[in-house]
Amino acid sequence: MYFTLAWRNIWRNKRRSYITIASITFAVMLACAMRSVQLGSYERMIETAARFFTGYIQIHKNGYWEDKTIDNSFSYTEDLIEKVASVEGVIEVVPRIESFALASFEQKTKGTMVLGIDPEKEHKLTEVKDKLVEGEYLKSDDQSIMIAKGLADYLRVGIGDSVVLIGQGYHGTNAVGIYPVSGIMKFPVPEQNNSTIYLPLKEAQWLYATGDQLSSLSLVIDKANHVDRIVADIGKDVDLEAYEVMGWKDLMPELVQGIEIDNISSKVMIWILYIVIGFGMFGTFLMMTAERMYEFGVLLSIGMKRIKMQFVIFLEMALMASIGVVAGVMISLPFILYYHFHPIYFGGEMQAAIEDFGVEAAYYFSVQPSLFYNQAWAIFLMAGILSLYPLIVIHKLKPVKAMREN
């Protein structure tokens, strides 16, 4: 009955209610879309960085992260690998050697990041095979390199050309090698695309004279949000004096911080949007109250309890807000889902301009449930606060006065 009353009251002034609901719908749609792109870009950043680069979890010799030199490496032992691999959620343990080298070809030289990898395991971690645009993927006993496209273009090398690598090896030895290019890979993240060289693990260990040492073990895990639990579980099994176990948040603190700051400014934008819509809602709630003072007076006179009147009014506002929220989510959801599976890529000049900022030229859409129900919460919170006005009006209502004012 109260529901019927509230429902019919909403449609007393159809046009006004439509406009109010439409404005809520519009705000929710816009907010969902904005948040989806925002969160999508964060997810993508984390994914490209963690999923396709560092891995979600890394194990190093204790102290490596502070001082990333080839000297801070540790021995590859079956025991360690087994311990790590046996933790629930760990799918693959991927060994790496990471260091720097100058790469030269003819007149060109550039500082590069050299990764010694186990080609098959590395692919499981970073799907690097899919990045290959020319030549062939490394095999574990090759004595050749794969080079990122940006770097290859800079050095003007092609498949079969030999690149000289010069760096510093274990405990100050010279690391010098000459390797033919067997493959060229293209990475979406410009920084990576302009500086990466892959070498088979064994060859890298020889180049840097590390013996069987590694700089890191990167882990392929079942779910990104299991990171903290897995890090903790590994910590129980391995000697934390000798090793450091780090999740992606520790591996990329600047990224995490950057995302947090960006996220706050995006939330502020959304709140400004909501406040604007809130004024519209308030206008409606105000009119819905003001024009019914006489009616409230009658209801109070004939014996309707204030709390029941307040409940009906509250229901009216909650219903309008709900319709707006549901409509907003329902309309935006198909688009967001579509673009989640078909991200928008920019081409041509646009792509170049965006990539100059060091980010990927694409819009990714997130479908995190929270991005939808957060909009619902925001609208309900606002409706709740705004409906205080009519609730207070009814609380203070005097029947005679209310009926005189009309």
Binding site: R8, E295, V298, S301, I302, G303, M304, K305, P399, N406
Partner: protein, 227 residues
């Protein structure tokens, strides 16, 4: 025992620079089953008196006892409940909830009283039939004439069989035909259901139908005649 008893009621409005003494010492008793008109020139205090008798407003001094209960000191929530259970109200106009149908309006008070659906339906239909507007049961107030709306208001006031019904100028917005038919219906309900009516009016035709007439002037009772 009288159903309405007002003792030494005064009401002073202090809203303006000069206080308005709307009621100056009203003493009044109304018995069950009476059909009473409160009359007098505009501004004499009829509305003020009815509001105080119905517990919608507080007297400045004096006491109101309804069906043996002193309502003067009653707190707001209890008073609302008391009105729901004991008093039916009919106002000059716009009595009805615009979004409810005729039948729903009549049922509304019974609903607030949590009466079962069957009883509500039966009672609403009975009253609407007695009022001669059973065919309008499914229509909204805006689709009814002023006279029909007031009949629905009377039906609603009667629905829960209150101790008495207060009506402030129920016919003020009606033409003469609607006025007399509304009065006839009120008189009939007074006879058939034993409903106690107290209504204010300036309309001579309404006054003629009353069986008791209390005349106010400047906030005082100047005559009280039974017929």
């Amino acid at each position: 025992m009288s159903i309405i008893k007002a003792t030494d009621i005064t009401k002073t409005y202090n809203a303006t620079a000069v206080p308005v003494h709307a009621l100056n010492g009203i003493n009044l008793e109304i018995e069950k089953g009476e059909f009473t008109a409160i009359v007098g020139p505009s501004g004499c205090g009829k509305t003020t008196l009815l509001n105080i008798l119905g517990g919608l407003d507080h007297p400045t001094t004096g006491e109101v006892t309804l069906a043996g209960t002193n309502i003067t000191t009653m707190q707001d929530g209890k008073l609302i409940d008391f009105r729901l259970k004991n008093i039916g109200f009919v106002f000059q106009a716009y009595n009805l909830i615009p979004v409810l149908t005729t039948q729903e309006n009549v049922e509304f008070i019974m609903l607030l009283q949590k009466r079962p659906k069957q009883e509500r339906d039966a009672r609403a239909l009975e009253l609407l039939t007695q009022m001669g507007i059973a065919d309008k049961a499914g229509q909204r107030p805006s689709q009814l004439s002023g006279g029909q709306q007031q009949r629905v208001a009377v039906a609603r006031a009667l629905a829960s069989k209150p101790q008495f019904i207060l009506a402030d100028e129920p016919t003020a917005n009606l033409d003469s035909h609607s006025t007399s038919s509304l009065l006839d219906i009120m008189a009939k309900m007074n006879k058939e259901e034993g409903a106690t009516f107290v209504f204010s009016t300036h309309d001579q035709r309404v006054i003629d139908k009353a069986r008791r007439m209390i005349t106010l002037e400047d906030g005082q009772i100047i005559s009280d005649e039974k017929r």
